[in-house]
């Protein structure tokens, strides 16, 4: 027995134990003096000694002595093999025949004696696939592993696996995320895949666009292009809106590897969510061409609604509409009033006239694109506009412009627009030969659809709203119209057979409207006369303009896109708000559809939120590109675009062996250059870090089975000697 292996753990303080021992000693001495006269010195000594031993043993139990037994054992080192299967591992490896992932698989599984098998003989091997996430895989799953997803997070992997492993083996092209680590991790041996020298690529690394843009104002789009393996060449960079090329420019690639930044200045001419893309044509010998395109959406707002109004003559209708538009800071009005007709005679020289030429050719053939809305106010167009001008207006509407015809006697002149290109697209036609009636005033009321249409519904109080229109002053003159099947009547007369007064419709991407009276101004002054203010007229004019120009403020549906750009495989959430009568909006009444870049409908969900009229739509993009989101309700629909970054969009696929070396050295490992024996290097590292453990056991001495018989034997012997001496 090695006394060094005996340890004590007193249950009492030492001084208590010492006191107990001294007490025992004192008792023994007293006993000795008391029995020596009767038994003689030798026997008294023996009995006292036996008593002292017994007491000492008992007192020694309080010292809690135990025997420490240590046992040292060696263990088999644990090796974690990390196989990078992110997207860049799908690119060509050494020699360009196989992918980098194939190279990794071949290294582990192929050959006379596969590396994985050899490693298993010396290590406790576990395989992990490292990509979007870290997954433990079996040997059978390794061969079917595919290179997809984002680059793996090595920090996360080492943190999770570090405590259970003594060595890491990473098979990667170096395109992994690594932020350094302060924690001590087992050494990592990097096995580089791919060939940096043979890799050639041009990629769109980033497109920088402002969060919002305004129509008609230049917007700057910065594009960062990364090059590897190309220098001294000039390549075109193309900016597109959907399929339409907006602009292109050539940039010089000056160095490799390197980054070039180029800027596009472009003026958006349409509002809404625009699907923009930037692309570089594939270059000869390029290793990866899928990252030559990148998508982004740009939200374009209009700063002002631009209106071109042509009035057939100065009139109260013109003046009150002009006043309404001029007082709206969001409207930019350009108006032309026909101050004299061909039959009027001017009696003064030019210098005394304020009349200006009506620039029809400029306005209607060149400048229409600069307007959002064209209004013909009691304007008999035939003397002024020819077929080409009217066709141009028609095209303007088809392309998304708004067009309103305000009625009056001139509107009807010579059959109005019947037989002209505009006649085809207006939502109503003249009911008969008589186009304008001024013999008896007419009241107006909301039609069934008018009670829900955004132009005429000022509030959700249906009855009060209908009453408002019935309180409006009578119209002294109306155009006698009948709606076409394409038209929606919003206001109609109250006398006899209802005649449409306000009719709306759609043509192409644009919207059209007819207000069949030149006395709508009475809704302004008449309500003022009643002391009810002019708000109803002003609101009607404002809503007419905003509806015709598809102003988002009047959209019954509003969509809020996620602030972050979408990514493949990550669920995208779209917030939907139904403005019109949200109390009645239910999930069933709101349709949510999502179309992928090929135009195919994808699976999507919609659920109501706690807020009335608010919903959350979601879908899972499976590929990159521009997705179309469409929300439909009973009141209308809205479409928006959403950019989802492709799996390889912005991918920098160049093998980054230097990055791999940095990681390995930071962990105390190394990157194996080609030709080095992975197995030997792994063994070398495991040898340096031989691991063992020591088993330490404590055996309490007082609980030893022989102690109790020993004490009993001592007491028994003492008892025997006493008895023999005649003391019992």
């Amino acid at each position: 027995m090695n006394w060094n292996h005996i340890v004590i753990a007193p249950v009492f303080p030492f001084w208590v134990i010492l006191v107990l021992f001294l007490l025992g000693l004192a008792l023994t001495v007293v006993q000795y003096w008391s029995i020596q006269k009767r038994l003689g010195h030798p026997k008294a000594i023996l009995i006292s000694l036996l008593r002292l031993i017994t007491l000492s043993l008992l007192v020694s139990f309080s010292v809690n002595p135990s025997l420490m037994v240590r046992k040292e054992e060696k263990i088999i080192p644990a090796l974690a093999i990390l196989v990078d299967h992110s997207q860049s591992m799908s690119l060509s490896g050494q020699g360009g025949k196989n992918t980098r992932l194939d190279e990794a698989k071949a290294l582990l599984l192929e050959g006379e004696k596969p590396l994985l098998k050899a490693l298993r003989e010396r290590f406790e091997v576990k395989l992990y696939a490292m990509g979007d996430s870290l997954q433990a895989i079996g040997e059978s799953e390794l061969s079917g592993l595919k290179a997809i997803g984002k680059r793996g997070d090595l920090n996360d992997a080492l943190e999770k696996l570090g405590p259970a492993n003594s060595l890491f083996l990473l098979l990667s092209d170096g395109n992994v995320d690594w932020k350094g680590s302060e924690r001590k991790a087992p050494p990592l041996i990097g096995v580089p895949m791919g060939d940096p020298k043979g890799y050639r690529d041009l990629s769109i690394k980033e497109i920088k666009v402002p969060p919002i843009a305004f129509r008609g104002r230049p917007v700057q789009i910065d594009v960062v292009i990364k090059s590897h393996g190309y220098s001294g060449i000039t390549v075109p960079v193309i900016l597109k809106n959907g399929d339409k090329i907006l602009t292109a420019k050539s940039i010089s690639i000056r160095r490799s590897p390197g980054e070039e930044v180029t800027s596009f200045s472009w003026t958006p001419e349409e509002v809404g969510s625009l699907p923009l893309s930037v692309s570089i044509p594939p270059q000869f010998g390029e290793s990866l061409t899928l990252n030559n395109d990148a998508n982004v959406t740009l939200k374009v707002y209009r700063d002002k609604i631009r209106i071109l109004m042509v009035s057939g003559s100065p009139s109260l209708n013109y003046r009150y509409m002009r006043s309404a538009f001029k007082n709206d800071p969001t409207i930019d009005l350009l108006s032309f009033v026909i101050l004299r007709t061909p039959t009027n005679i001017i009696n003064v020289p030019l210098q005394e006239q304020s009349l200006i030429p009506f620039p029809v050719e400029t306005l209607f053939m060149n400048e229409l694109k600069n307007f959002d809305l064209v209004i013909f106010d009691d304007f008999f167009c035939r003397p002024y506009l020819n077929l080409n001008h009217l066709e141009s207006v028609k095209e303007f509407i088809r392309g998304g412009g708004g067009f309103a015809v305000i009625g009056g006697p001139n509107f009807f002149g010579q059959g109005g627009y019947d037989g002209t290109p505009l006649g085809e697209i207006l939502p109503a036609r003249f009911a008969g030969n008589e186009g304008y009636r001024r013999d008896r005033p007419s009241g107006v009321k909301l039609s069934r659809l008018g009670t829900t249409h955004p132009i005429t519904r000022f509030s959700f109080d249906g009855k009060g709203h209908q009453n408002l229109w019935q309180e409006m002053p009578l119209l002294d003159g109306i155009n006698l119209l009948e709606p076409k099947s394409s038209g929606t009547v919003l206001l109609e007369t109250t006398d006899g057979m209802p005649r449409p007064i306000l009719v709306v419709g759609n043509y192409g991407k644009g919207r059209v409207l007819i207000l069949g009276t030149d006395y709508s101004w009475k809704w302004y002054m008449g309500m003022l006369a009643q002391g009810k203010g002019n708000w109803a007229y002003l609101r009607l004019m404002e809503r007419m303009v905003r509806w015709l120009t598809r102003d988002p403020s009047l959209d019954p549906v509003q969509i809020t896109m996620p602030a972050k750009r979408g990514e493949v495989g990550q669920e995208m959430g779209v917030h939907i708000r139904v403005k019109e009568n949200p109390s009645s909006a239910s999930k069933k009444m709101v349709s949510f559809s999502v179309f992928n870049p090929e135009g195919t409908k994808v699976v999507s969900q919609i659920r109501a939120t706690a807020q009335p009229g608010e919903f959350l739509g979601s879908f899972l993009p499976e590929k990159g590109g521009i997705y179309k989101v469409k929300v439909e309700t009973a009141e209308g629909h809205l479409e928006e675009f959403l950019a989802v970054a492709g799996a390889v969009e912005g991918l920098d696929g160049v093998p980054n062996h230097e990055h791999l070396r940095t990681i390995a050295e930071a962990t105390g490992g190394e990157v194996l250059s080609s030709g080095k024996d992975v197995l030997r290097e792994a063994e070398s590292y495991s040898g340096r870090n031989k691991e063992h453990f020591v088993e330490e056991r404590h055996l309490p001495l007082w609980s030893a089975p022989y102690l109790l018989p020993l004490i009993l034997a001592l007491l028994g012997m003492e008892w025997y000697l006493r008895r023999k001496g005649g003391m019992i």
Partner: protein, 293 residues
């Protein structure tokens, strides 16, 4: 609203224009048919396509050059007030409306509606006309409130002092009422670049039966001048008897002064319907060039 019988016209509608054979603008005394002259001008203008009317050539149809039939869009509503003489020139209307129809695209009616300030139809009048010579009774508070509401929210008032005595008679009463209705606004001389001087003709001086002021005065609210005031007796210059003779001579400028009064009348009517349209930027270069500015 009253509809007094208009004075019987000496001619038919076409002939009615004949009374302007003594064209106040040109002082033309040629008594030949104005219709044929009008047509001649019309055709000439049509042929001179591009000066004011861009093109009359249209592929639409053969009859397209005809204009729409005329329907009334404009009328004078004259305020009948208490005290003084509210209607000093009852025969001013026809000649002005004929001139308006001859020169402009405005379809007016020769219909003078007489209205009181308490009439609810006041708010539907495109132009309120108020004339007088003498002092008149103060408006009632109700009348002032109605007029203030009408003018503040878009209405228009043309006031015509036919006596032209500054600080006396109609002028005194009218300024008193305006200061009551617009206590924070002052009746000011309208600047030469005001839209009313440029709404149809480019006017540099103001005519009338007399020439008290070579300018108009007015009350302007923001960009709109709802009250325009003349002391030159414009209606006196426009007034014509049933035989087509001018009732009053224009002094001291004679017929040129009358022509100027008609120009002012047309400009005022156009301004009442088109507001400050001529202030739009698109007009600036043309007007500046013509005024040699």
């Amino acid at each position: 609203m009253e509809f007094p019988n208009p004075p019987a016209l000496p001619f038919s509608k076409g002939g009615g224009r004949g009374d302007l054979s003594k064209d106040p603008m040109t002082n033309n005394t040629d008594g030949k048919s104005n219709i044929s002259r009008r047509r001649f001008f019309s055709l000439s203008l049509g042929l001179a396509a591009g000066v004011f009317i861009p093109s009359f050539k249209s592929p639409l149809s053969a009859s397209e050059n005809q204009v729409a039939p005329a329907y009334p869009q404009f009328f004078f509503a004259q305020i009948k007030y208490q005290g003084g003489e509210w209607d000093p020139n009852p025969q001013f209307l026809d000649s002005l409306m004929e001139e308006l129809e001859l020169r402009t695209s405005i379809r007016g009616v020769k219909e003078r509606r007489v209205i009181t300030l308490s009439d609810p139809d006041l708010f539907f009048c495109p132009l309120l006309y108020m004339a007088g010579k003498d002092e008149f009774d103060p408006f009632t508070p109700k009348e002032r409130e109605i007029l203030a509401r009408f003018l503040t929210y878009g209405g228009f008032l043309l006031a015509d002092d036919t006596m032209g005595a500054k600080g006396f008679g109609f002028d005194r009463s009218f300024r008193r009422e305006m200061s009551q209705i617009f206590p924070d606004q002052e009746m000011k001389r309208l600047p030469p670049d005001h839209s009313v001087y440029r709404s149809f003709y480019l006017i540099e001086t103001l005519g009338g039966r007399q020439k008290v002021n070579p300018y108009l005065e007015g009350i302007t609210l923001d960009q709109w001048t709802p009250v325009i005031y003349s002391q030159n007796d414009l209606s006196g210059a426009w007034a014509r008897d049933r035989f087509g003779k001018w009732i009053h001579p224009c002094v001291p400028g004679g017929e040129a002064q009358r022509a100027s009064a008609f120009k002012a009348g047309i400009n005022i009517v156009v301004y009442s319907l088109a507001s400050d349209y001529k202030k739009d930027l698109v007009h600036h270069p043309f007007i500046k060039r013509r005024l040699n500015l």
